[in-house]
């Protein structure tokens, strides 16, 4: 996009928006001005513009600012872009019921595993993996299940990116990938803490993973629980694959045409962003 076509005066307003969206506690106008090094009058103008546009709202009990409810329309539209999410939700609820543990659906987005659906079980929630959370592919069983069932050239490209970004040890990742390929699923179980994640790929007719279903919770730490949970996740994955086969084009990842290295997600560590 040529620079002349951009609206340069909008950038600082987007900075305010990002600050409000990603702050751990709702910021006040003074804090926003301070953190972005903006004059207070400019900050107020930006805040008011964002309020008028329906992006932020003043917290009802204070002078601090939070995201407005209407931004949920955008996140809803974004999630709807992943058609596989809609087709999987009922099955995820079924798996969450059968395993009684939190069940998630992850899709690949660049070099990340993005959680697009989370269904809580009734067991204690250890790690809820909220919708929108993302980790580099090798950092979770969900991601390894996605990576292991990617084309060979893509796996090699990922390993090169990891090495360049100093995010992990390619050999260890290769071993995890080979193990997942061999057994058809990925398992990350921390025996000492009795917490684990078991992830099964959802594959297209070419065998490439479009998404992964993962069960996360303490009961996976007990080996005897795993076969039943694996069976539930595999059964759900096969059903979803059946739905995908009815209309493969609909379930294509909407960001597949973008180079993975260029996809940088909000809140990703700086080291990853430089990758």
């Amino acid at each position: 996009m040529p620079a002349a076509t951009r609206n340069e005066s909008s950038h600082w307003i987007f900075d305010i928006l990002e600050l409000v969206a990603t702050s751990s506690a709702p910021p006040s106008a003074i804090e926003i001005a301070d953190r972005l090094k903006l004059p207070i009058t400019t900050t107020h103008r930006g805040i008011h513009t964002l309020e008028q546009a329906g992006y932020i709202a003043q917290h009802p009990m204070s002078s601090r600012y939070v995201l407005a409810n209407s931004t949920k329309r955008l996140t809803k539209a974004l999630l709807a872009r992943f058609a596989i999410r809609g087709a999987s939700l009922h099955f995820l609820r079924y798996v969450a019921g059968a395993s009684q543990e939190t069940t998630t659906l992850c899709v690949p987005l660049g070099w990340y595993a993005l959680t697009v659906a989370t269904v809580l079980g009734i067991n204690e929630v250890v790690d809820p993996a909220p919708v929108g959370s993302h980790v580099a592919l090798h950092e979770s069983a969900s991601g390894v299940a996605l990576l292991a069932f990617s084309p060979k050239a893509k796996i090699e490209r990922y390993l090169a990116w990891v090495q360049k970004s100093k995010l992990g040890k390619p050999r260890a990742i290769q071993a995890a990938v080979a193990e997942a390929q061999g057994q058809g699923y990925a398992l990350a179980a921390a025996e000492s803490e009795m917490v684990g994640e078991l992830a099964v790929p959802i594959r297209n007719v070419e065998g490439e993973a479009l998404a992964s279903i993962a069960i996360r919770g303490r009961s996976l730490g007990t080996k005897s629980n795993r076969p039943k949970m694996l069976a539930a996740a595999v059964a759900a994955a096969r059903r979803i694959e059946g739905v995908i086969q009815l209309d493969p084009a609909r379930f294509k990842n909407p960001y597949d045409h973008l180079p993975p290295e260029q996809i940088q997600l909000p809140g990703a560590p700086a080291a990853i962003q430089r990758g």
Binding site: N7, S10, G46, V66, L67, A96, G132, I263
Partner: protein, 286 residues
């Protein structure tokens, strides 16, 4: 992705062209760009420049500038043809706060406790799966969450929860269900097995907004079921309230329905923000 601390500066103390002279000032050009992003919806996820201009009632040049800014900020991306613009993944930052309910099951749990307090009876949440209904969560009469839920698939013609969901499907889906399910399975002497009577029941449920049980699946209890719906009226599932008929009498049930319906209306306002999963009538339940 640009970080919040990227150091981009607005002109200090200097009003933009679009700043209003009186009252609280806004940046008009930014306001237009920000509002324009809301044009991207589940129903219309992509735009060409002309289409975007027409949708917003602005010139093509303005639309090009707005899309250019949104592209630069990562809120839109070009599609595979590079001719159209689609919602970008930077929208993920609006999920960063992360406290919102993102699954209808979690959303329903808090309302199920309210419904239990009102009725002092069992409250369960069921979802459609293929041609059946499956109960996946529940609150006991004393207010505890069920530790174990009965996973027996129930056909969409039997039980009030099934019919609350069936009634929210399109007529052609209901006909497909009937076509694939006849003869309709009988569970008790009062199960609706006549397709014509089932169609009449669907009309009744649509008119009233809830379904009641006829001891057509479980004998000895009274139940009332309400659909949980998304924005377009598609069913996420159904919430059923009920108990033994000696305790939860028909009189008590009908007297409570307006109060229960108010709670369900509140739940459905929140559930409308989530998209219901597609229902594949011909798909076998797991």
């Amino acid at each position: 992705m640009k970080k919040a601390s990227s150091g981009r500066r607005a002109p200090a103390g200097k009003a933009d062209k679009g700043t209003q002279a009186v009252g609280l000032p806004v940046n008009k050009s930014s306001l237009l760009i920000l509002k324009s992003l809301y044009s991207f919806t589940s129903e219309q996820p992509s735009f060409g420049v002309s289409e975007f201009a027409a949708k917003l009632g602005i010139t093509k040049n303005m639309a090009f500038r707005a899309l250019g800014t949104l592209l630069d900020e990562g809120f839109v991306v070009r599609d595979a043809t590079a001719k159209r613009y689609e919602l970008g993944y930077r929208v993920l930052m609006f999920m960063h706060a992360g406290s919102e309910e993102t699954d209808v099951r979690a959303l329903c749990v808090k309302y199920m406790h309210i419904l239990q307090e009102i009725s002092r009876e069992s409250v369960v949440f069921s979802i459609p799966m293929g041609p059946n209904l499956i109960t996946i969560d529940g609150v006991e009469p004393k207010g505890k969450r069920f530790l174990r839920v009965n996973w027996v698939p129930v056909p969409l013609h039997a039980s009030p929860g099934s019919r609350a969901i069936l009634s929210c499907l399109h007529d052609d889906e209901i006909e497909e269900y009937i076509r694939l399910s006849v003869p309709l399975k009988r569970f008790t002497p009062t199960t609706i097995v006549d397709p014509e009577k089932l169609r009449a029941e669907v009309r009744l449920v649509r008119r009233k907004g809830y379904a009641i049980g006829y001891e057509d699946r479980v004998v000895g209890s009274n139940f009332v079921s309400f659909p949980v719906l998304d924005e377009s009226g598609r069913p996420h599932g159904a919430i059923t309230i009920g108990g033994p008929k000696e305790r939860f009498t028909k009189e008590k049930m009908f007297a409570l329905i307006p109060q229960l319906a108010d709670v369900m209306a509140e739940l459905n306002r929140e559930a409308s923000l989530l998209d219901a999963s597609p229902i594949f009538i011909s798909q076998q339940t797991m």
